[in-house]
């Protein structure tokens, strides 16, 4: 057993970002333990069964629960990817919420009114939501590039503007007054399920998860395999150096924010192009954008990491739903996630800790091996 562990550590020591991944996992463990602790304080009797429920959430109703897990993860993967992409290019996109809202409105508008599109209906809705989110995202980019306005502040402002704009437009164009919400979208605008319906019977899953994976793949390629992505990253890393080496840093900032916004906008469309889901006219910011920040951080701002972290979030959220049988509310999930983010903020420290642990263990190994030679 001990040798096995050592082999794993040795393998990890060779991999470049394994230390980061390990410290992320460690943050998850700390977050879960903290959640357990809170539950123990609040209600010791139900704490362990409740905690067990969170951990086993998706396994409770078979494939249906798994389908729902992916379904819940989908919008968060979009917003997480949006935030992560901006992070990699040196920008903090706290405005994913606003971009998500704009995308959602555009998608619902097209879903309600553009029935003539037939089989292309949902795809066109996503496309225009993507454009709308991109333009909305470009605004803080423009303000940053040309007017030196910090994108965090302008994005926060634009979140509220987007929310009120959405309410105003829903009331004017797609309003169902009796229920204070948007009209139902047409059937042709709903995202199809394809074969997923038979794999995960009874669940709400649709092809949104595939679209999310497609976006993850595209962003992964842009960031890691193209000159364009390299430029974006270098502007984020050192604006002045990038400018000196002939890159157009202003254009790149605007493009980064526009792409981040487009991803979030598409997420809004995917979330709302579902039967039985409506835009409500309450002045409440959509939470998906903020959850996206958490998922981006947890996924180490790497597209693949975001995909995994998003699914992990869906997993936790589903567990939170099953908590209803106990004396806990689903907010325990958010507490756990907050603690996980906090520990990922301490990642420098955790990484040092993990690195020194691996080094100690693997060096012990070397000493033993050398000892054997002398014999």
């Amino acid at each position: 057993m001990k040798n096995f562990w050592r082999e794993i550590l040795r393998f990890l020591a060779k991999k470049a970002n394994s230390i980061q991944v390990l410290s992320s996992l460690l943050a998850i463990v700390f977050g879960m333990l903290f959640g357990l602790l809170v539950m123990l304080i609040v209600n010791p009797a139900d704490a362990f069964p409740g905690f067990f429920t969170i951990l086993t959430g998706p396994f409770q109703a078979g494939m249906r629960s798994f389908g729902n897990m992916f379904y819940r993860a989908t919008p968060i993967i979009f917003t997480g990817l949006s935030v992560a992409f901006a992070f990699r290019t040196g920008l903090f996109n706290i405005g994913a919420t606003g971009q998500f809202t704009i995308g959602a409105y555009i998608a619902v508008y097209i879903g309600v009114h553009w029935g003539f599109l037939g089989p292309f209906h949902w795809a066109v809705a996503i496309f225009f939501a993507l454009i709308g989110g991109g333009l909305w995202g470009a605004l803080p980019g423009l303000l940053k590039a040309f007017r030196n306005v910090h994108e965090v502040v302008s994005s926060i402002m634009l979140n509220y503007v987007a929310m009120y704009l959405m309410i105003l437009m829903v009331k004017r164009t797609v309003f169902f007054g009796d229920h204070a919400r948007s009209l139902a979208i047409q059937d042709s605008a709903e995202l199809p399920k394809w074969f997923l319906g038979s794999i995960f019977p009874g669940s709400s899953i649709n092809i949104g998860i595939f679209i999310a994976i497609l976006f993850v793949a595209v962003i992964h390629i842009i960031l890691n395999k193209t000159t364009f992505g390299y430029e974006l990253k270098s502007v984020g890393f050192n604006k002045d150096a990038a400018k000196y080496s002939g890159m157009n840093e202003k254009r790149n900032i605007v493009l980064s924010m526009a792409i981040a916004g487009a991803i979030a906008g598409a997420g809004g469309a995917v979330f709302f192009l579902v039967g039985g889901r409506y835009l409500h006219v309450n002045a409440v910011l959509m939470q998906q954008g903020f959850t996206g920040i958490a998922v981006a951080l947890l996924g180490l701002s790497a597209p693949i990491g975001v995909l995994l972290a998003g699914i992990f979030y869906g997993f936790l959220e589903l567990g939170g739903l099953f908590l209803q049988g106990f004396d806990f509310t689903r907010e325990i999930i958010d507490i756990i996630i907050a603690v996980i983010i906090y520990f990922s903020a301490l990642s420098l420290f955790l990484q040092k800790f993990v690195a020194s642990y691996i080094k100690r263990k693997t060096e012990e190994d070397v000493e033993i091996a050398e000892g054997a030679d002398i014999k």
């Binding site: 402002m157 325990i332 907050a338 906090y342 903020a345």
Partner: protein
């Protein structure tokens, strides 16, 4: 003319209370950022302060028979202390652990509402806390009879507003007239120079963040007292607004008050357009008015940020070896 006067008399107390709240929380942010630590956790800290303060006020009200304003004072103090303690998490991560300050602040923003709702639900069964009582001081004796100023400042006012004025004056003196204030500002501009002169950067930055925590916590209770007596784990985005006020105010106390006034003005116009006759006649949808403060901020930012006066070392962890 009399009509206009009546409307101003009606609107002004609302403007004053929003302005007091925004400037106190933004002032908190100022202490943190001028010491070199970005603090976008103001919203979360406000929520924690509001939660602890509201709960304390409910308990005190149910068990003790003390005057209303004393209870408000107790609530405000508890909120400030809670905010200070909660902000220590951000301080520890940002200063000692040299973490990404935006990430640790985001964690705090995430934690606070979840914790407030979770705890309230687990203990009382309701996700919200009902403070129920009206803490407004309807008339301050003598002062409320002064023409113009009387109805604007001394009717329908809150204890917290007067407290805010005192705190603001004290804070201004501390920042600009004391050695501590000078050190604090130098830590945000050039920590290495300050370090070479024997200033303990860590201590000053801890102090900066803790002051911001105390003021944001206080602001949270102010929100509960004067905006909504039902607290359900949210402070209506005032923490984020305060951040915008701080930045549009270029990290300077006096400018910050002016910006806070503008914000408050637009907010009040958006909240009560029906009572203001002149504005009702414009016949714009309510949502447009609601958007206005945010759009106005964006415009102000776009005009003023070119020569931004952000503290030079804000957001950078202090590393003595970098000098």
């Amino acid at each position: 003319m009399i009509e206009l006067m009546n409307q101003l008399n009606f609107a002004f107390p609302y403007i004053i209370r929003a302005m007091a709240l925004l400037s106190i929380v933004a002032l908190g942010g100022l202490f943190s950022e001028r010491s070199g630590v970005v603090n976008i956790a103001l919203e979360g800290i406000m929520i924690m302060g509001a939660f602890a303060g509201a709960w304390t006020m409910i308990i005190v009200m149910n068990n003790m028979n003390i005057p209303l304003q004393w209870n408000a004072f107790i609530g405000l103090s508890v909120g400030a202390i809670t905010g200070m303690v909660f902000s220590l998490f951000h301080a520890f991560a940002a200063i000692h652990m040299k973490s990404n300050q935006i990430i640790s602040a985001t964690a705090l923003n995430f934690f606070a509402p979840a914790f407030a709702i979770f705890t309230a639900r687990s203990v009382t069964g309701d996700r919200a806390l009902n403070v129920r009582l009206d803490y407004a001081i309807s008339e301050v004796p003598i002062l409320s009879n002064i023409p113009i100023l009387g109805p604007w400042l001394f009717t329908n006012a809150y204890l917290s507003t007067y407290l805010a004025v005192i705190i603001f004056i004290v804070a201004y003196i501390v920042l600009y007239k004391t050695p501590f204030g000078l050190r604090l500002r130098s830590c945000g501009e050039n920590p290495h120079a300050a370090d070479s002169l024997g200033v303990n950067i860590y201590k000053i930055r801890y102090a900066g963040v803790m002051i911001s925590g105390a003021l944001a916590g206080l602001g949270g209770v102010m929100f509960v007292l004067s905006f909504s007596t039902r607290f359900d784990g949210a402070v209506a985005g005032f923490g984020f607004l305060a951040l915008a006020v701080l930045i549009s105010g270029q990290w300077k106390p006096i400018r910050l008050i002016l910006i806070a006034f503008l914000f408050a003005l637009f907010r009040v116009i958006s909240e009560i357009p029906d009572e203001l006759v002149g504005i009702r006649n414009l016949n714009l949808p309510q949502e447009i008015w609601r958007m206005l403060p945010f759009i106005a901020t964006l415009v102000i930012l776009a005009i003023t940020s070119k020569g931004s006066a952000a503290p030079r070392a804000v957001g950078e962890p202090f590393d003595a070896g970098k000098r």
